[in-house]
């Protein structure tokens, strides 16, 4: 029997190279530290940290989360320590890690996004992810993600000012996500990531009140997976830039589904809350799938769904 070629999990997302295709989804992994007692963070393809704004943000009132069938709604409201707080409190630890560090950034204006991206580039961050799709804050964020013109202007403006890999996180709360994928590509985004949470709502019928103080929130978890897989598949056929697929991944089978639909890498989100070891289990599961199906590189699976 011929000797099986060694599996290489490495993936290239344009100029961003990851040791394996599994990363964390922003907002579900904090700044990494809390997970270090459960997993070796250096084994991850990349860590995408919780969204950072220029100034600290307090976040929304409670209740901020509630569980729904096979999913959860959240309206955290982008609580974060701000850029300075992040640099002081979180960056020193992240700098000690041997994995790619990607910072999700958000602002109320194009200028704020530019300031964040420039500062983070100068600090040696591996990539920034433009958060233009958080459904839980009134200002900024989602406006850039759902208005094609504002979306295009933001990406172009940031692109002109930084060289580091630029990821744009797409909102699923639009009629045609392909349109936004194309705009992002044309405006100079190196990578697109999708999907952010789906806007949702849940009502306590006894109290006749919304379950979240914010009334609506973002739905995540296995409940949204089929929607996310469909959107990744659509975008893969519409653009050439690499795609980071996410939305309800809890197992390696889920991750492979996204890769077959067109993702070059995947991000694990809500699953981190259920089992802090999820990412590592998924990396190992992808490896054994590749081994038993004689796949040498994850890129040989990307977009290979037979339709």
């Amino acid at each position: 029997m011929p000797k099986q070629n060694k599996i290489n999990l490495k993936v290239n997302l344009g100029k961003l190279t990851l040791k394996n295709p599994v990363m964390t989804a922003s907002g579900t992994f904090g700044y990494g530290k809390e997970f270090s007692e459960f997993i070796d963070l250096n084994k991850l393809g990349a860590i995408v940290v919780k969204g950072i704004s220029l100034k600290p943000m307090m976040g929304n009132p409670v209740p901020r989360i509630c569980e729904t069938p096979s999913g959860m709604l959240n309206a955290i409201g982008l609580q974060n320590p701000g850029l300075k707080g992040f640099i002081r409190q979180q960056l020193p630890f992240l700098k000690t890690l041997k994995t790619k560090i990607i910072v999700n950034i958000l602002g109320n204006s194009v200028d704020e996004y530019i300031k964040l991206a420039e500062e983070l580039e100068s600090l040696g961050i591996d990539a920034v992810e433009l958060n233009v799709s958080c459904p839980n804050v009134k200002k900024g964020g989602i406006v850039f993600g759902t208005e094609p013109k504002a979306f295009e202007e933001l990406i172009s403006a940031v692109r002109q000012r930084v060289k580091l890999p630029l990821i744009t996180k797409l909102s699923p709360n639009v009629t045609d996500i392909k349109l936004f994928a194309k705009i992002a590509e044309d405006a100079g985004s190196d990578i697109i990531s999708l999907i952010n949470t789906l806007s949702g709502m849940s009502i306590d019928v006894k109290k006749r009140r919304p379950r979240l103080a914010n009334i609506t929130g973002g739905l995540s978890g296995p409940a949204i997976k089929p929607v996310a897989v469909r959107m990744v598949w659509e975008c893969f056929r519409a653009v050439k830039v690499p795609i980071i697929g996410m939305g309800g991944i809890v197992s390696s089978e889920d991750a492979i589904e996204f890769i077959l639909a067109g993702a070059g890498a995947v991000a694990v989100g809500t699953a981190n809350f259920i089992n802090p070891k999820s990412t590592i289990d998924i990396i190992n599961g992808i490896k054994s799938y590749m081994s038993s199906n004689d796949v040498k590189s994850p890129k040989d699976l990307t977009g290979k769904v037979k339709c």
Binding site: F35, F38, E67, S70, P276, K277
Partner: protein, 279 residues
Amino acid sequence: MSRLFKATVKDNSPLITDHYLLTLQPLEKIKRPSPGNFFMLSVDDSLDPLLKRPFSIYRSTAGEIQIIYRVVGKGTTILSNRKAGDTLEVIGPLGNKFPLKKKQDNIILIAGGLGIAPILSLAESVIPPAPSLLKAGIKRPRLKDKTNKMMPHLFYGARTKKEIICMDELKAIGIDPVISTDDGTFGKKGNIVNVLKKFITRNSSNISNYSFYACGPEPMLKALSPLSAKHKLNMHVALEQNMACGLGTCLGCVVKTTKGYKRICKEGPVFPIEEIIWE
């Protein structure tokens, strides 16, 4: 010692209507929990319900975890159907603990409803159970300060007589609680905070020698707040809130404090009462 582990259900029996006592045996050595800590529990392996649920500790040693829970929804209904021999996934112990002064003068405990579970575990950590109880296999956390001989006072409120639990265990450590029920079926009629109020008024001259620890429904804790402020009490309360991760990353379980939002799972669940800004 990982804080993510599997545990076997040793026993899961109803205590009173809708209330269960769950005894778990971790399949590996776990970190010793302290009173105030909690565990996140998967009620089953399915994706619905998706998240683990937080439960405060009733009694726990390195080899056994006991939790008292009330069936309130889908998750706890599933949990109540788990049988001896079943395996559950657990994360913990999590959160901070009730802070005890090294030289404690007097301890006042206030429990409302199921809040008695963590309050009893705190009481047992300062008062050893009677030898008969130890012989029966009930272990207790080590008593750190052996010169510490104070007997905590316990104020215990419940909705009705039928929902009063843990009386034998309290007796075993020599605590004779002051009890009130909302419907007057046992002890004094009415709110336990009003009963405590009278006690404080009677002892107002030396009240600064007391440390107060409370756990119970939010309206009870909220009612304690002005009382504590008025008499400048040294009071800590254990809070609860929906949680997704229990590890401090989702920022779902925060509470508004004088120092901004704090995470109940990480900086809490025990907070100085004067820090809390009640909504």
